[in-house]
Amino acid sequence: MPVRIWRTPLDIEKVKRPKAEIHIIKDQCKGCGFCIQFCPKDVLEESEEINERGVHPPRVVDESRCVLCGFCTSICPDFAIFVVEKQCKKEC
């Protein structure tokens, strides 16, 4: 329906969007870059630091963008990244 959509949906606040907590085990990373490349929300980027294995591990750009799809966890060949849902008491 080609009606112009421009408003903020009235119920946007009511939708509980799970907040993500991304954990990166930096020294386990071998720098393949899969997690960065395949993240659908572009949450990760290559960092400048160098880990024990001599590569640049990923770094979180914006954690709030993460939708917890968990693809980074499944694709990582070195079990170096995982995401858990943030357990917040009230608002976080």
């Binding site: 009606v3 009235l10 969007r17």
Partner: protein, 811 residues
């Protein structure tokens, strides 16, 4: 005269024409000496008998023709009486009953186009009647018998669009017993009516009355529902359409139980189109609760997964029925149908283009469609009319009418038909829930024209809704409170107003679908200036398209309310049903005659054919004609530069013979007029019926379409010394043959150029667009041309004769 020999051979002997001059009581005899005309007719070549009688169309008159055909072995019949648009079928039938092919009958219109328009000049009218009879006899001598072809009709129908009109049409056809394919672009049927809260004037709940129908469509054994689908290809003709439908993948199979677990886990959210962005939806969704089919859909533009890459499998995991399948591919479905009903509906006007109302900038300016979602209990606010800025219930509300209707500023000049009543209904809905609300309606006119509409209007007034005539010039927002100031002129009291309200509802108009052009092209339809599809006849064939086998229902043809949409849908169904019940259709034998030896396969005819009825056979290097698809306009015959095409019953030779008959005597005083059957000729008839008087020096030649008028006809008339030529057809855009008259215009423009090159006064060739209702337009054109013909000097006639000498060679 090869054709004459052909004609003789087809009837097995010499041409024997019988002429009947009708008195029509005093209608003709009052200003034409019919006896003299009959005597004159008897002197014409091939005429073996000529009679005049009081009423030729009476049973006795018809019996006379029949017995003469048998007794005198007539093989051509000419009746000089009223318009062929009136009694041609009557006399054709009489001829057939006497064993004469109906295409061997010809008429001379000496009533509408002679006696009635020259009431006070008996001499001139009689002379003109003689000419008209001479023309008819000249054509009759060249007439050929023709057989009409019968085309079988596939007893299946396609309905395009699943709004209320499409739903009604599909159900009616399916209940009649025909197989129906209902194609809908969106994931669910329901259309605009599903978005609306209540309907006027009865205040029924819209979805409550629609949902049962939607569900009937879903379960009907005769209906195949194709949602998420678009028409991509249509070829064929009445009774035999070949259609391709592109079915976009849903990524959810029919195993879906619509439990909604997938949507709960879907991490992606976006504004919901169904609620005009007032509520959210997920990437996997169903547009609304009552959707049919209820199967969910995955919007791959939003989903984290891309084609062949599954990143997120939350919905897959959540689905117990295992109905989610990302491997689905677009699918093309091929259908064969006999009839098509176009129910593509309408779009709503986007008021952002009117900056003075601030829509898209001021949060509390909403459209009437947004209002419907807000007041709907199933909508994003649960039926509470809240203003978007602070989610509070407004205390003062203003409606502004005609936003995108009846205004030059918005470019939409037409009335959208539904907005007045919709606003009245909306105002009553507000009063029902929150009686204290102050409601102002700013309008140009309130059009409460339908059954029960006026009552509703009066009720709204009684409830205290304030109607102010005069649209606001501007809306200004108070930045702090987000309230809105409306300023304008109350045109009834001739004073300025400045009102402060909490919320403004723009009553937006309807407009043609943005993608109408695609449907127009695929189905070769025509549209009005407003952009809605055009019917074959505004009064008598209001649901038929000009293209055979195609019908309209709902807003595709023009803005209308639900009741009218449903009425039209049922009407379209009846029209389609007539064709399919018969199972066959007869095509009038006025299709092209093709001479393959002369064809150079240049393809000009293919380009001008409005019906795509001509195709190029690359192998044989010549064209092929699909007779059943042909509309019978004759534009191809006028376009062919090699004389390979002509039109049955309107052959080049027949038309040239008519021109020659007109110009045999006193050509330098006469106007040769070519008129199309549907508009100009009918307009000339209307001038007659209305007794509009005009000069008697015009002689009209009837063609089915002005597109049939080949430049060589005009040239022939000038070469034979005619004073002036008139080419007349339907208004551009109103052509009975879609767009064939555009070619008429081009040809006339080319002729004007040619005349200029030869130093001729181009005024001697006139082009007129006149509708069937514009008798006065036709009459005044002839009066105007009289002044031109009076001025034409003998030298000018001679120059034209020389300039177009070549045209005399055409026989």
């Amino acid at each position: 005269m090869g054709e004459k020999e052909d004609a003789e051979s087809t009837v097995g002997g010499a041409i024997r024409i019988g002429v009947y001059v009708c008195h029509c009581g005093l209608n003709i005899a009052g200003s034409v000496d019919c006896e003299e005309v009959a005597k004159f007719a008897a002197t014409l070549p091939y005429v073996v008998l000529a009679k005049d009688n009081r009423y030729t169309c009476s049973d006795q008159g018809q019996e006379l023709i029949k017995s003469d055909i048998r007794e005198h072995k007539l093989n051509r019949v000419v009746v000089a009486s009223c318009s062929p648009r009136l009694h041609e079928p009557t006399f054709r039938k009489a001829c057939e009953e006497a064993g004469l092919n109906k295409y061997l009958f010809e008429m001379a219109n000496i009533r509408e186009q002679c006696s009635w328009v020259h009431l006070h000049d008996r001499k001139a009218a009689t002379e003109k009647a003689k000419d008209l009879v001479k023309m008819a006899v000249a054509k009759a001598a060249l007439l050929q018998p023709a057989e009409e072809i019968e085309v079988p009709i596939i007893r299946k129908a396609l309905v395009i669009g699943g709004g209320v009109a499409g739903i009604q049409a599909a159900l009616d056809l399916a209940d009649t017993g025909y197989k129906v394919y209902l194609v809908e672009k969106e994931p669910s049927i329901g259309g605009r009516m599903a978005q609306i809260d209540k309907t006027f004037p009865t205040m029924d709940c819209s979805i409550c009355i629609l949902a049962p129908k939607m569900s009937d469509v879903g379960h009907h054994p005769n209906i195949e529902l194709l949602t998420n689908s678009e028409i991509v290809y249509v070829k064929g003709y009445i009774g035999n359409f070949h259609v391709k439908v592109m079915k976009k993948p849903r990524y959810v199979t029919d195993d879906c139980t619509a439990c909604g677990e997938c949507a709960k886990v879907c991490p992606v959210i976006a504004p919901n189109e169904f609620d005009i962005g007032l509520a959210i939806r997920h990437a996997v969704y169903t547009p609304f609760a009552q959707a049919v089919p209820s199967t969910y859909t995955i919007d791959l533009n939003l989903c984290l997964n891309k084609e062949n890459i599954i990143l997120c499998d939350k919905c897959i995991k959540a689905c117990e029925a295992q109905a989610i399948n990302f491997e689905m591919k677009p699918e093309t479905v091929e259908l064969g149908v006999g009839t098509i009903i176009v129910a593509t509906g309408a779009d709503v006007f986007d008021p952002s283009s009117l900056p003075n109302y601030g829509y898209g900038k001021y949060l509390n300016v909403i459209t009437s469609l947004e209002f419907e979602r807000l007041i709907n209990a199933g909508g994003p606010s649960g039926g509470h009319l809240i203003r978007p800025s602070d989610l509070q219930i407004p205390k003062r509300v203003a409606f502004i009418q005609c936003v995108g209707s009846r205004s030059e500023k918005s470019g939409r000049l037409y009335c959208s038909n539904v907005c007045c009543m919709n606003t009245i209904k909306d105002s009553l809905l507000i009063k029902e829930h929150w009686p204290e609300t102050e409601i102002y309606v700013f309008y140009i006119d309130i059009r409460a024209y339908g059954k029960g509409f006026e009552d509703l209007y009066q009720r709204a007034k009684k409830e205290g809704v304030i109607f102010i005539r005069g649209l606001p010039a501007e809306i200004i927002e108070d930045r702090k409170t987000r309230n809105l100031w409306l300023t304008g002129e109350n045109t009834l009291q001739k004073e300025l107003y400045k009102e402060n309200v909490d919320m403004v509802i723009l009553s937006i108009g309807l407009e043609p679908r943005k993608d109408s052009e695609i449907i127009q092209r695929l189905l070769t339809l025509s549209r009005t200036q407003d952009g809605f599809f055009m019917e074959a006849h505004p009064k008598l064939r209001p649901v038929d398209a000009a293209t055979g086998g195609i019908f309209f229902a709902g807003c595709a043809e023009g803005p209308k309310d639900i009741k009218d949409s449903v009425t039209q849908a049922s009407a379209a169904t009846a029209r389609a049903g007539i064709l399919m019940a018969k199972g066959k259709v007869i095509v009038e034998a006025i299709t092209p005659i093709f001479d393959p030896e002369k064809c150079k396969a240049c393809g000009l005819c293919i380009k001008v054919c409005p019906y795509n009825a001509i195709t190029l056979n690359e192998e044989l290097k010549r064209i092929e004609i699909i007779e059943a698809a042909c509309g019978g306009c004759g534009t191809c015959a006028a376009e062919c530069p090699f004389g390979a095409l002509t039109q049955n019953h309107f052959t080049d030779k027949q038309i040239l013979a008519q021109i020659d008959a007109i110009t045999e005597h006193d050509a330098e005083k006469k106007i040769v007029a070519f008129c199309c059957n549907w508009c100009a000729y009918a307009g000339a008839d209307f001038a007659g019926v209305s007794r509009m008087q005009y000069p008697p020096n015009v002689r009209i030649i009837r063609t089915m379409c002005s597109g049939r008028i080949a430049p060589k006809f005009v040239e022939r008339a000038f070469a034979r010394g005619a004073a002036a030529v008139l080419v007349a057809g339907c208004h551009p855009g109103d052509c009975h043959y879609i767009n064939a008259n555009y070619h008429t215009q081009k040809r006339v423009e080319r002729l004007w150029k040619k005349m200029k090159q030869h130093g001729l006064n181009r005024e001697r060739l006139q082009l007129l667009w006149a509708s069937a209702a514009e008798g006065e337009r036709f009459a005044s054109k002839i009066r105007e041309m009289q002044a031109i013909t009076d001025k034409v000097a003998p030298e000018e006639i001679e120059t034209a004769k020389k300039a177009f000498e070549k045209a005399l060679g055409e026989v």
